[in-house]
């Protein structure tokens, strides 16, 4: 105790040490090992690995699987946009109309998250079944051909994107809510006192002030969405498989660790590039906020 008293400046480092050491040891170091693995080739008989500066793993990852890679970025982006469009009004309603019951209403958003991810997705398999109410309803409204293909919804891009959107919705809704909830209602009143219509007040006051929430939500949704593979596997078919499916099968089915590791880094690079483009578009200060 005496030591800490005399050297007060040490205190934060002691506080940080255990947690950061854990992260360094089990997040950073593994990435290093993954990098090392990405340059190894594997003996198919006894499954031993040899470090051979196998840059061919990267070449194969980029050229061999660019359909899946682009598809992942595409599905991730679409899911994020839809999640934003769906969540924003919801978060707005809770923040501005929720009153005393705000926190209870939040449970509606967070609650479904507590049903195991896989069970939720299996439930969508039941809901979107070929013989189920949703397909029948869409067919009756003549919308099935737009959303589905071959007279069904499952094993189509729609089902996969819908699954991804649903599963990551809370990641968009909660940051949006936090941001909206902090907006001082008097600012909106002031705008209206200055003769702004409701729509204009929203557009010029509320929306910009909720930017941090939108940025956070977008990132927290897009990144896991791009790397997802479960929705594609359960709700999609080979034509919709994403880069996550490829990485998963390389690791867990083929035990081709070198190729899989290279693909993981290609995926991360793709995500970082997308984030970079996004940051440029909205201005970097808003990103690190």
């Amino acid at each position: 105790m005496g030591l800490l008293h005399r050297h007060k400046w040490l205190v934060p480092y002691f506080l940080l040490l255990p947690g950061l050491a854990w992260l360094a040891l089990f997040f950073l170091v593994p990435l290093g090992y993954l990098g090392h693995q990405s340059l190894e080739t594997q003996n198919p008989i006894d499954l031993s690995y040899a470090f051979k500066w196998a840059w061919s793993n990267y070449r194969e990852a980029i050229t061999g699987f660019d359909p899946q890679l682009f598809r992942s970025l595409e599905y991730g982006a679409i899911a994020t946009v839809i999640a934003l469009l769906v969540s924003y009004p919801l978060a707005y309603w809770i923040a501005f109309r929720g009153g005393r019951w705000k926190n209870v209403l939040l449970l509606f958003i967070v609650g479904p998250f507590f049903v195991t991810y896989l069970i939720r997705t299996l439930a969508w398999e039941t809901i979107l079944a070929d013989d189920g109410p949703v397909v029948h309803g869409l067919r009756y409204l003549h919308l099935l051909s737009i959303f589905g293909s071959n007279d069904r919804l499952l094993a189509t891009p729609t089902a996969v994107v819908a699954g991804i959107t649903y599963n990551f919705l809370p990641f968009m809704a909660l940051p949006l809510y936090v941001s909206l909830e902090q907006i001082d209602g008097r600012l909106i009143e002031a705008a209206q006192d200055l003769y702004a219509s409701r729509v204009k007040a929203f557009w010029r006051v509320t929306l910009p002030l909720s930017m941090p929430g939108m940025v956070a939500g977008t990132l927290l949704t897009f990144i896991p969405a791009v790397g997802d593979f479960i929705n594609a596997q359960l709700l999609g078919r080979p034509g919709q498989y994403m880069i996550g499916n490829v990485i998963n099968s390389r690791f867990n089915e083929l035990q081709d660790y070198g190729a899989a590791a290279a693909m993981s880094f290609v995926l991360m690079a793709a995500i970082l590039i997308m984030i970079g483009v996004y940051a440029r578009a909205i201005g970097t200060e808003k990103l690190t906020g």
Binding site: V11, P12, Y13, L15, L16, P18, G19, L20, W22, L23, F26, F27, V29, P30, L31, Y33, L34, H36, Q37, P89, L90, W93, R100, N103, V104, L107, I109, V110, G111, P112, F114, V115, T116, Y117, L118, I119, R120, L122, A123, E125, T126, I127, Y166, L220, I223, P224, G227, F229, I230, L234, G244, I247, F251, N252, A260, A261, S264, L267, M268, I271
Partner: protein, 285 residues
């Protein structure tokens, strides 16, 4: 008579129409919100509903009759109970550890000045922003490179603590930032030293955030599939069990456990929220 009456009657009607239009627009948002909640809860409803299904065969995809037996015999499916117990055990240990480590980091970030703040922030942000598949794959690579690690219970715990720390930091930090330091200063003015102040003033006041972080970790851990699939070795947690079962036969008991976890979690959170609401009302009164 009518020529005079008309203008008088027209004004209230247009004002009423204007009010109705405004009301409709307001309610539009409410209607939309209700639809949104319905959409969010739809799969949950299906899960709960099918937990009462009585399927003849091995699959639980079509409704074939109501029964309580899935709930009374929830552990009749071999492997379900051990998997659930394992998941709960791992979640308990991992969430305690992650909450402890993360709270310390949050305290350091908010209360102290030190070099390396930016690096710390990046290190906290990165795991949250990496795809799970990369986290799992890299951990697998690490564990396979050292024979010290055997894939199993402890590797799962290590992985879960790792990805939970960031969420704890974010949750506790948010509460610490809005924390009123005057209370601490008052305590110290009254003679309490730093440790006593921390234990009897600070900690109780940030307890709700720590508890929230603990629950969040618990939820993340018990639900994790992707990372666990990579590092579990031959251990089977509940999500891994569901994945395996989905290939061969999906017994209704899976829905039972899913519904139960959901109900308990929502129940706990609801209780927490209602207690806080009552406290707020009492405080305001």
């Amino acid at each position: 008579m009518s020529a005079v009456a008309q203008p008088v009657a027209a004004r209230p009607r247009s004002r009423a129409a204007g009010r109705a239009l405004t009301r409709a627009r307001r309610e539009l948002l409410t209607i939309y919100a209700l639809l949104g909640f319905a959409y969010l809860l739809l799969p949950v409803a299906v899960v709960v509903l099918f937990s009462f299904n009585h399927p003849k065969g091995r699959f639980n995809y079509t409704w074939q009759g109501f029964t309580w037996s899935n709930w009374t015999n929830w552990d009749a499916v071999p492997g379900l109970k051990p998997a659930l117990e394992l998941s709960l055990e791992i979640a308990a240990i991992a969430s305690l550890a992650a909450t402890a480590l993360g709270t310390l980091i949050a305290l350091a970030l908010v209360r102290y000045r030190f070099r390396g703040r930016a690096v710390t922030n990046v290190l906290i942000f990165l795991p949250m922003s990496s795809p799970e598949i990369v986290l799992g794959a890299s951990l697998l690579t690490l564990f396979l490179s050292f024979s010290f690690f055997t894939l199993g219970f402890w590797t799962i715990v290590i992985a879960h603590v790792m990805f939970c720390i960031s969420y704890v930091v974010v949750t506790v930090k948010a509460r610490l930032i809005g924390f009123d330091r005057h209370l601490e200063e008052a305590a110290m003015d009254l003679g309490a030293n730093e440790w006593v102040t921390f234990a009897r003033v600070t900690l109780p006041l940030i307890a709700p955030a720590i508890l929230a972080a603990l629950l969040l970790c618990f939820a993340l851990s018990i639900d994790d599939f992707v990372i666990t699939n990579f590092v579990a070795g031959q251990e089977v947690t509940f999500p891994l069990f569901v994945w395996g079962a989905a290939r061969a036969a999906v017994p209704p008991q899976i829905n039972v456990v899913g519904s139960a976890i959901f109900a308990v979690a929502v129940g706990v959170m609801l209780a927490n929220v209602l207690v806080q609401m009552r406290r707020a009302r009492k405080g305001a009164a």
